[in-house]
């Protein structure tokens, strides 16, 4: 963990990183759009200045129709997955909890695929897919929660096991649906792989309200997430209505996960790793960790998507593969360094 003073600098540093990575990600691609050009075009869009001359119309189209929505979508998806991961990890008192591991991502995907098939794949970015993903995520989250609920309370170990089992069943269901999906198998497959390409403003508009709502709930619950990390009984002794809080947070986590999955498919590692890395840097106080994870998840996803579309241009790598390749080794390095230095728990 960083020293107390440097810990305070992490959130401002993440804000700077977010702005910087946005500018770089907007600039880079098949056509270079310099940060100066994009800033001037943005200022024009916001009616702050006249239409800048000497900038071709094509540049404007690329910026506003392709780059900008994609970068913003990456930020929103990354923030959502990281916030969901932070919430689930605190709620289940387990640093390995993650939207994918407890089956919520798969549930969201199942819901979304059902609608894609029913709608003939036309409404990929529509509210229908987001809504169905949310229903799927929520249903999975509560199914897992109900399955794990044996007595008056839910034990976390049971919850994780139930989550793993339900995730396996839902994944099997997805495979089954794909087997019978005929020609659409390819589009569903690529959607599942995870990607942010060609989703446009519509996807951003569909996901953002859910993500903002989920992020606000997570930020407001930061202090109580600290209490749940002490265990349910202790949290209750310190004044938390534990059962109600768990339901609200399961809902918030499902909302965040569904929003991300419905527009970007299954992207792993972000929800698991972002809170983990930040906890190693700034500690486990969720009042700092939740905002840091939201910012960090956005930065991480923007950079991962930038790599996905520029590394083997003009081809694209699935962004989920990039997150795993970038994130895995870095995560292992941090884990090892921290363990050997302090023998501390992550």
């Amino acid at each position: 963990m960083l020293g107390p003073r440097r810990r305070e600098e992490v959130i401002p540093a993440l804000v700077v990183l977010l702005v910087g990575s946005c500018l770089v990600a907007i600039a880079a691609g098949a056509v270079w759009i310099s940060p100066l050009t994009s800033t001037r075009l943005l200022a024009w869009k916001f009616h702050l200045m006249a239409r800048p001359r000497h900038i071709p119309e094509a540049t404007s189209v690329i910026l506003f129709q392709l780059r900008l929505p994609r970068v913003l979508l990456a930020a929103v998806v990354g923030a959502a997955l990281a916030a969901a991961g932070t919430v689930f990890q605190a709620l289940f008192r387990n640093p390995m909890a993650d939207p994918a591991i407890i089956g919520v991502s798969s549930g969201a995907a199942l819901g979304a695929i059902a609608v894609i098939l029913a709608g003939g794949g036309a409404a990929l970015d529509g509210l229908g897919v987001s809504g169905a993903a949310f229903v799927g995520a929520l249903a999975t989250a509560f199914l897992v929660y109900r399955l794990a609920r044996l007595g008056p309370t839910v034990q976390v170990a049971t919850l994780l096991l139930a989550g793993i089992a339900v995730a396996a069943i839902v994944s099997a269901a997805i495979s089954l649906i794909m087997t019978f999906s005929g020609q659409q198998i390819r589009s569903i497959y690529f959607w599942l792989l995870g990607g942010l390409g060609a989703r446009g403003w519509q996807a951003l508009a569909a996901a953002s309200p859910f993500v903002i709502a989920g992020a606000v709930i997570s930020l407001a619950s930061a202090r109580d997430l600290n209490l749940t990390a002490l265990g349910e009984e202790r949290a209750a002794q310190l004044g938390l209505e534990v059962e109600r809080f768990k339901r609200v947070m399961l809902g918030a986590g499902a909302l965040l996960t569904a929003a991300a999955v419905s527009v970007a498919g299954l992207i792993g590692f972000v929800g698991l790793m972002t809170p983990h890395i930040l906890r190693l840097l700034i500690g486990a106080d969720h009042r700092k960790l939740v905002p840091a994870a939201i910012l960090g998840g956005a930065v991480f996803m923007i950079l991962a998507d930038l790599a996905a579309r520029t590394l083997v241009s003009p081809e694209e790598i699935p962004v989920g593969a990039v997150t795993a390749v970038l994130g895995g080794p870095f995560f292992l390095y941090l884990l090892r360094r921290e363990r050997t230095r302090a023998g501390a728990r992550p």
């Binding site: 002490l230 310190l238 486990a284 009042r287």
Partner: protein
């Protein structure tokens, strides 16, 4: 609901509670008064922790009622309940690494809302709690790097930061060293007597419970089996009936309260061919030698001792043959004869450096007679005879005569060497 805080602290009435199946607590009624430290004792599995859980809104009783300063904790929000009653658990293992300061600040949760962070008052309570629990110097340390005792004090600070009028502690001293035990219990006493809080603490150490609690409740198999002052609760009968151990209970130990000592394992019963030893002690000066010889396999007799003397109590516990006279009485002729017979048949007589006054100086005469008649005699000559002669010179004169007829050693530890050396000479 009276709302009168002076009225009653924590009151349980006819509480039956459990986790499904057989109840863990059955018909438990108790009262933890404000301004007092109340102790809860009982063997493992008797329901002590469950009782704390029930009182802290963690396990709704199947029947009966719980009132904390007039309020039913199950009828109000968790937040409101946490302002009324704070708990110090035995141990908490956070899923992630938190600093001591972060942990203690969590104690302020019942007073903070989502968007309101701590104000002056919260910081004041946090700082006071850390000072009271003596963890202020650990503020920035991660909890998992601390020792068990330090962690336990952090949990105490966390609960103190809650600033609740009722405080419940589940074995607050288990992991503490003796200095911190005294410190923490002094803090608890202060919270009760100075601030008027109602304090309930689970104790395994009955001597601590006896010394620090104003009232005690003994729990056995989910029922209260004894309640009242330490004097009325900590008894030999309780030790046997509830804990199943033979123990010596002194009605007034060092703290002026009952103190408990478990009986030592009895040495093997002497056989017919065991060597015989007779010990002349008194006022506790013979205890060590008695035990030593008994463990060495001697058939030990003692006397003449006064009833109630420390040596006499131990001799009784060790089941030794003993000659006694009533307290503060002189040695009568019959006792002297008994003692003379025992010494005549002994392989060795050990005369301890006990204080000698008119009541027991005859013991020295008996010893001198035995020594002169050829009985091997060992004299423990550690404390100078002049300092323990309360006969005006008579005891000193006898002691000096004994010296020339016996082997002198400088302490109880050397008695065995003296015994064996003496044997070698024969």
């Amino acid at each position: 609901m009276t709302g009168d805080r002076g009225d009653a602290g924590l009151v349980l009435e006819g509480v039956t509670a459990g986790y499904g199946g057989r109840p863990v607590l059955e018909g438990v009624s108790m009262e933890v008064r404000p301004g007092q430290v109340t102790g809860l004792i009982g063997p493992n599995g008797s329901g002590k922790t469950t009782l704390v859980r029930v009182a802290a809104r963690g396990l709704r009783p199947r029947s009966g009622s719980v009132r904390v300063f007039g309020v039913d904790p199950y009828g109000v929000s968790a937040r409101r309940a946490a302002r009324l009653v704070a708990v110090v658990p035995q141990e908490t293992t956070p899923a992630f690494s938190y600093s001591v300061l972060e942990m203690v600040l969590m104690g302020r949760s019942p007073y903070l809302s989502a968007w309101r962070s701590g104000n002056e008052e919260d910081w004041l309570h946090t700082r006071r709690a850390m000072e009271a629990a003596n963890v202020q110097h650990l503020a920035d340390r991660p909890l998992e790097e601390l020792s068990g005792g330090e962690r336990q004090r952090v949990l105490l600070a966390q609960a103190l930061a809650q600033d609740a009028p009722a405080l419940m502690l589940d074995e607050p001293t288990t992991h503490l060293d003796i200095r911190h035990v005294v410190e923490v219990l002094a803090v608890l006493s202060g919270l009760a007597r100075r601030d008027g809080r109602a304090v309930l603490a689970i104790f395994h150490d009955l001597n601590l419970a006896s010394a620090y609690c104003d009232r005690l409740y003994a729990l056995s198999e989910g029922r209260i089996v004894s309640e009242g002052t330490p004097q009325s609760v900590i008894t030999r009968e309780l030790m046997w009936n509830v804990f199943g151990v033979e123990a010596e209970v002194s009605p007034a130990g060092a703290a002026g309260r009952p103190s408990v000592a478990v009986a030592p394992a009895l040495p093997l019963a002497p056989r017919d061919d065991s060597p015989r030893a007779h010990v002349i002690g008194g006022a506790g000066r013979g205890a060590a030698v008695m035990r030593l010889l008994a463990e060495e396999g001697f058939d030990v007799s003692v006397g003449v001792l006064h009833v109630g003397d420390t040596d006499q109590v131990l001799a009784e516990r060790l089941n030794l043959l003993r000659v006694t006279v009533p307290p503060f009485s002189p040695i009568d002729e019959r006792s002297a004869d008994d003692c003379r017979a025992l010494m005549a048949g002994a392989d060795v007589v050990v005369v301890c450096d006990a204080p000698f006054g008119p009541g027991n100086v005859d013991n020295l005469r008996l010893a001198l007679d035995a020594a002169r008649s050829g009985v091997r005699t060992i004299l423990i000559d550690q404390v100078p005879i002049e300092e323990r002669d309360f006969t005006g010179g008579e005891a000193s004169r006898l002691w000096r005569s004994l010296r020339s007829n016996a082997r002198s050693v400088s302490g109880p530890d050397e008695v065995l060497a003296g015994v064996h050396a003496g044997r070698g000479q024969i």
